[in-house]
């Protein structure tokens, strides 16, 4: 079995669900013949037809809103936002409807939709194409936010997201869409949502991260190993709701916490993790928490984007700082 890349994990999950659940429909801009601008839906329209894999008019609010309507009718729309930078017209539908349809109708209607979007920097893309604003969605009640960081998790978590009876924002770290290949069986087995994945065990410092930053973090961790520092690297995977238990257990062991994300720092998801650890495990902490994040600036155009994104060097230094205390 040849390995597949993260983006192929996405395609495989979509194909699997399209095959096995006729209520699943894939829709979005350019997802049809073109197979998506990143090719995440490559071949799907050819295989499942224009009604199951549908090119929509160009309007993200519309895509989200029609998905709510379809989901309320019992379908499982999996809608693509071409880039996270274009997801904002969909915010209204997500916060005003998707996240509350079940609640406000006391369970009469529900909204099993998935909103997929490639996100994050590092591929020298044009303006507005390198955004990481998962925190905005993590603050929306009733909406899950899920981010895979490997081909297997792309496959397993997307299956889970599509099958989840509630709305999921599924963000795909495009910088690692094709970074590594991994053998993933197309067995239709979903991975659990709402839990972190421990990517590497260690007992000196806990490093929590997600998306493309898992790779920078793992690189930092392996470099730190030569300095005799053992990092426990945790992939958050489900950004909201947060599996704080896994993180607390790890911090209880290590006494030190570094959080790495590429989104802007202020009110990023890192703040929530830091806050919960400070609230619930203050006495476990042997050093102040460190956040290694994007800056509170606009994501710059690509000549400077690598300066914006957390680097291995920054992550390593942050880990070391926590150990200096």
């Amino acid at each position: 079995m040849p390995g597949i890349a993260l983006i192929e994990g996405v395609t495989m999950a979509l194909a699997h669900e399209l095959s096995h659940d006729e209520s699943v429909v894939v829709l979005g801009e350019d997802v049809g013949v073109n197979g998506g601008v990143f090719r995440a839906t490559a071949g799907l329209q050819q295989r499942f037809g224009k009604e199951r894999v549908m090119d929509t008019p160009l309007a993200e609010g519309m895509i989200a809103g029609m998905s709510v309507g379809m989901a309320a009718q019992g379908m499982r729309p999996v809608a693509e936002m071409q880039f996270m930078g274009f997801i904002y017209p969909a915010v209204d539908q997500m916060i005003s409807h998707a996240g509350r349809l079940r609640h406000r109708t006391r369970g009469r209607l529900s909204c099993p939709m998935v909103l997929r979007a490639p996100y994050g920097g590092g591929i020298h893309a044009p303006e507005h194409h390198s955004e990481s604003t998962e925190a905005l969605f993590a603050h929306i009640p009733g909406v899950r936010v899920v981010i895979p960081s490997s081909p297997a998790r792309a496959y397993g978590l997307l299956l889970a997201a599509i099958r989840d009876p509630d709305p999921v924002v599924f963000l795909e770290p495009k910088r690692i869409y094709r970074l590594v290949k991994q053998e993933v069986e197309d067995d239709g087995v979903a991975l659990p949502l709402d839990v972190c994945y421990i990517l590497r065990e260690g007992d000196d410092v806990t490093v929590v991260t997600w998306g493309a930053m898992t790779h920078e973090t793992l690189k930092a961790a392996s470099e730190l190993e030569s300095d005799g520092i053992n990092c426990e690297v945790i992939d958050l995977a489900t950004i909201s709701p947060l599996d704080i238990e896994t993180i607390l257990e790890s911090v209880e062991k290590t006494g030190r916490l570094v959080i790495v994300h590429e989104a802007a720092r202020t009110c990023g998801v890192g703040a929530e993790i830091a806050a919960q650890v400070a609230e619930q495990a203050l006495y476990d902490l042997e050093a102040p928490i460190q956040r290694v994040t994007g800056y509170d600036t606009v994501m710059p155009l690509f000549r400077l984007e690598m300066e914006y994104l957390p680097s291995v060097a920054r992550i390593k230094d942050a880990v070391k700082v926590t150990l200096e205390e």
Partner: protein, 361 residues
């Protein structure tokens, strides 16, 4: 060299004029007096309910309430044309349409009384709940219609929206999608001339709101929204067409908001009384009653009996509403997700701990 490449026109339909005279030919259903009586009864019930709801608000027994006064023909015309299996995505004041579909008066009261259970219609289980964020419901209707189309069902969806709502991008997006995909959906613009304090001419330079359909390449028609016969006939045709693969349509119902915007509003601040007085002259109930009387199908006795019956029904609904205890605090957490995530259990416990009702609802 200039040449004309496309031509459009917008028609206006009125059958029952303000004096209750029939203009042109009656549509089939309207030739049966009992059908018209039924519509008249629904309109009357809606109005009696409306008066009561406003009273409840004034006496502190209901929250802010959006009156439907003056919209009865538009609403009942639309609701009565729908089939049970169709799906309705309303805004927030189309009680007349919703009652036709089985929504209960007590649901309306629960909703404006601050209780989500008002949205849990026992009746039209698939209808969308009231929608306050203007125009967003149009996309839900289009999405529902997309589901129907994909499944090959002979049903359709209806969304209603106000004149003000036609300024929101979501409205056009829904229209355009419906056109591009030839969805079985009908959009009804209930043009009551005002969006709270903003008159139509500040909202748009379009001469009619029906012509907004032209932008989406779909049919648009303007109807006298105070004429329940024209309204019902237009809706029936549009819905039948939609259900049978004929594609979407836009119906503009021209009516007038005879009341304040909601009970929280005071329209005398921005609207001349003369305009309201003029609008009363063309309101929907009287013309229907006149017509029914003229064909010998209605009289004072029937009117009194109807009013008494409406009052009784409304009172029952009010009593049901007033007798409903508030939900327990845990209701905030119920239905947030199919299953409450572990991460929220703590919060639920906090809510129980600080229950201000002391557990008594």
């Amino acid at each position: 060299m200039k040449k004309t490449v496309a031509e459009y026109h917008i028609d206006y339909l009125q059958i029952l004029d303000p004096d209750g005279n029939v203009q042109g030919e009656l549509p089939a259903f309207a030739r049966y007096p009992h059908e018209l009586i039924n519509l008249y009864q629904r309109m009357t019930l809606t109005r009696v309910f409306d008066t009561k709801a406003i009273n409840l608000q004034r006496t502190g027994k209901l929250g802010t309430y959006a009156s439907s006064l003056g919209h009865e023909a538009a609403h009942v015309g639309m609701g009565s044309a729908m089939h049970e299996k169709d799906v309705f995505a309303p805004m927030y004041r189309e009680y007349g349409a919703q009652f036709c579909r089985g929504v209960k008066m007590s649901d309306v009261l629960m909703y404006w009384g601050g209780d989500e259970r008002g949205n849990n219609f026992a009746g039209p289980r698939q209808d969308f709940p009231w929608c306050v964020p203007i125009a967003t419901q149009c996309l839900h209707a289009a999405g529902a219609a997309m589901a129907m189309k994909l499944r090959g069902e002979k049903r359709c969806a209806v969304a209603s929206i106000g004149d003000g709502g036609t300024s929101e991008g979501a409205f056009y997006e829904a229209l355009n999608l419906a056109g591009a995909q030839q969805l079985p959906v009908v959009f009804v613009v209930v043009n009551n001339k005002w969006a709270i304090s903003v008159p139509l001419h500040l909202q748009t330079a379009a001469k009619t709101l029906a012509q907004k359909a032209i932008a989406a390449g779909i049919p648009g028609i303007q109807v006298d929204g105070n004429d329940v016969i024209a309204m019902r006939a237009t809706m029936e045709a549009a819905l039948e067409r939609a259900r049978n693969g004929g594609g979407p349509a836009l119906v503009e119902a021209v009516t007038y908001r005879l009341s304040d915007h909601t009970t929280a509003d005071d329209a005398t601040r921005y609207r001349p009384q003369e305009e309201v007085d003029e609008a009363w002259k063309v309101e929907p109930l009287e013309r229907t009653r006149s017509y029914l009387i003229s064909i010998g199908s209605w009289d004072d006795g029937k009117e009194q009996a109807l009013l008494a019956d409406c009052a009784r029904q409304v009172d029952e609904a009010v009593n049901e509403y007033l007798a409903t205890d508030r939900m327990p605090v845990t209701a905030m957490f119920d239905h947030m997700y199919e299953e409450l995530p572990e991460a929220m259990q703590d919060q639920r416990e906090t809510a129980i701990r600080y229950d201000r009702s002391g557990g008594h609802h």
